[in-house]
Symmetry: D2
Subunit: 288 residues, 4 copies
């Protein structure tokens, strides 16, 4: 068996200009990197360029730090927002859950079986009922109740716990609480929610009841980054499932659970693999 | 080859009561009819019952008219809304189209190749460009312009043409005009529209532009009965197709066309096969 | 809150005859049962009739046993294969697993959260690695190795454990062992497998490798009853997921896992809700 | 409105080497071309590289011919199979049809409404029934019967007509005849078929009957390049549709028609937009 190669991922977002691909790929080649995957996209109306490169760095002449420094002048010339990371550095993902277990159990199982490449330093919930499941996975569980009359203290505690665990990404696994603007801002582009409808249908509360009342023939779920505007953040992934007149509202909830968990886990995977680039209220998702 | 059997379809909607299926199926059996297909549904919260029976009437002792009369007392006892029709009596479907050809061409081809069981006595359009296509199919084409400042006269003319052709069902094949309340009422439950979004997302104008601006990952189409409330009528059928960040707004329009035409043709088929029962703002669709 | 009604399910398969629906529904009505759900299907070429009724028995004049006895003469007259059961009597499902956890974890989570209506008296595996996960759910775990040179002793042990736990249904959750004919026969119609391809594509071993080599654009999974003919038993449920040229064989395996577990859980649910009727090598699935 | 830019498409397939993307993108940038779309893929096990670039050539310093000459040395250095074409040069697509109209009507309508970017110099059929439909579109129709006892003369005639019309791509729109090896070879990579099953399921004749007999829960269609090995050529596109026990064999045929035509039209579009690269028995499809 060949040794696993050292892989770096380089993600770029910048104004579109002639020669961008050439400049970046020449840089990689000059330092003896090899492109394993390379995706790019030009948003023509916005004249904006997006690029994601997975680089086999096994034979490169510089280490990560030195490479980042070497790339900086090129990035500046093209006004790039960019980052270059070692694929081995696993992101630290804190999960916020409430009473419902389906999304949390799905993420924990994928992580536990090696299918999701991240650390999960802890799970925070406003209920106690999922503690045993979380702790079985060897993950610390924090119970932070969110009382109706003192949410700010609760979110201060949540924020504190995330920081203490050096969380980088926060996943709202059906957390069912509105996140305060300060947290949205602080974790901008790193705060992932699963909404239980096919947005922009049924924004807000009780989407399944409203889907039932409207008599739609498909229900869905939406994984998106959280911004201050409720349910209006950049969409990462969506999917739907067919329903019929014979489905009760409870059937919609049950069928919806399966869509929610698969959409969330796909969205989270895209995020962890650096496949998602946000610009304005939209995403570029270089999914394979 | 066996001769084609005589088939009747009996459609029922009424308050739910014990013994309904027994009463109806006993009636059919007593008259020596045989159930070829039988679907029923109970809306438990609404306590309402829906039923569709396809009856092989080849050996029945009564003709259609006599059978309808024989059924009437039973229907009255159970407060049924109902109808019983000979499947051979093809519905007369008038199509209203505008400039875009994809939905119209699809319906005409299905009709022409024997795949859609109906008559198409005429096509009405506010543009001339599709005349030749319609007339090639041997179907009369009526050009009724809809001037911005005199829509009522135009719709009077449309209504008149539909009547003259004894149209029973009206299909809006991307007609792009708001139908006046009088027509909505007159053809209630017989006026079918295709909306170019996954309702209730993007109600109203320019859904593809708004889907593009919102960055959704799926676009859809909705076939529904038209009521006075724009885009709020009972939904018959919906479907979606996956799109990505690399799709331009024109790509969405193009991909959407395929969903529109397939959703409309499925919805129309369900309608023509008496599979759709409307109650309030929802439908029961006994699709196979 | 209204008390939960007593529900019975009556499942029938018999030669098609005029008056069947009438006879059955009259029987139910006479005993003051109310049909909550009623599905039927006539296989016209085979002249065979299938029926599933969910009966609200709260007001019935007979208990289950007496009702079964009362129905027997009618069943005999029409040559029915049939059963009538109380929905409260949960089926006992033994799960056989191997090394892979995804299907087992999915079923256990659904069961644990009350989403799958059955008992799971035990899990049997030829590996030890899933013991802790199973036992966390409070379910006994039996390790029965299946040595290449003495499979018959192993399967005798498996059979013994199933019997001891009074297992009614056996689920092969990626068990990866060929079941001996004696077990197939004994649990005919109660032995459910998930095959990791869209049958009849890639019958047999290594379907993902073969799908990769063939360059298919969709991969799938098939839930079916096990018969002596490998991968040829009656299909309960299937589904597919889109793949591209950029998917490695390992990507197919990963994407396939999600299809496998959702297809298996849907198939198992249909089975547990008495929605599946087998005749010959095909199934009728009255899914909602 | 801005003038439409001059677009070229450059398609490359070659052994994988470090610096390929850099070399190609530098070439484009040096000649003042701008990459509008750029996709690439590395087949890691095969060590093979695939690339497709859409170049805005409006500001380039060389015309197409000169650019091709300038690229040749670079192509030779990397052992590329490649072509560079002007997107305005529309491919000439000859369609072969039989009695069934659905795929042909679909392609003709897309072409007629400007949705498919190609020329259709003629349609050839072994039946007369579709002549009027073809001729209404202003396209010559050739009737070439294929008698069972003299197929080679028929195919000589077909080949002759294709040549006379300078056909580049041949589409078998449910042509239902086995193409002789000489034609397969001559139009290798340009001969597109739609098979009415989800290959490799139901290779050969009567797939819908066999799908019905097997009791599958999904049926599909496959668009592939034709090679000498029947139904074994490189797959371009596939899709499926859900079916149930209540579908007759004729229902499968009807539902299948919709999948066939949509899969064929998608596959043909990918081909015409130079999105498909064949290697061995597999394709890379850079679909958006």
């Amino acid at each position: 068996m060949t040794p696993k190669p050292t892989l770096y991922t380089l993600v770029i977002s910048c104004p579109d200009q002639v020669g961008l691909v050439a400049a970046v790929s020449a840089f990689v080649a000059e330092h003896r990197g090899s492109l394993v995957e390379s995706n790019n996209h030009t948003d023509v109306p916005q004249k904006w360029f997006f690029m994601r490169n997975v680089i086999d760095a096994s034979a490169m002449d510089l280490d990560l730090r030195a490479l980042q420094e070497a790339f900086a002048p090129l990035a500046e010339r093209y006004n790039m927002e960019w980052y270059l990371r070692d694929n081995q550095s696993r992101r630290r993902v804190v999960i916020l859950a409430s009473h419902a277990s389906h999304c949390l159990a799905d993420i924990l199982h994928r992580w536990h079986s090696g299918d999701l490449d991240c650390e999960i330093p802890c799970v925070i919930s406003n209920h106690e009922n999922l503690r045993s499941m979380v702790e079985w996975h060897g993950i610390p569980f924090h119970h932070v109740p969110v009382p109706v009359d003192d949410k700010s203290a609760a979110f201060a505690a949540v924020s504190d716990i995330v920081e203490r665990h050096r969380g980088e990404t926060i996943v709202l696994a059906r957390y069912m609480q509105i996140i305060p603007p300060s947290l949205c801002e602080r974790y901008a582009g790193q705060l992932i929610n699963i909404h239980h409808s096919f947005l922009p249908s049924f924004i807000g509360a009780n989407p399944y009841q409203r889907a039932y009342d409207r008599g739609v023939k498909l229900i869905g779920a939406t994984c998106h980054y959280v911004t201050e505007d409720l349910d209006e953040g950049p969409i990462i992934e969506q999917d739907v499932v067919r329903v019929t007149h014979s489905c009760s509202k409870d059937d919609l909830v049950r069928l919806g659970r399966d869509v929610e968990r698969s959409v969330l886990s796909r969205g989270l995977r895209f995020h962890l693999e650096d496949r998602v680039i946000v610009r304005g209220n939209k995403t570029v998702v270089f999914n394979p």
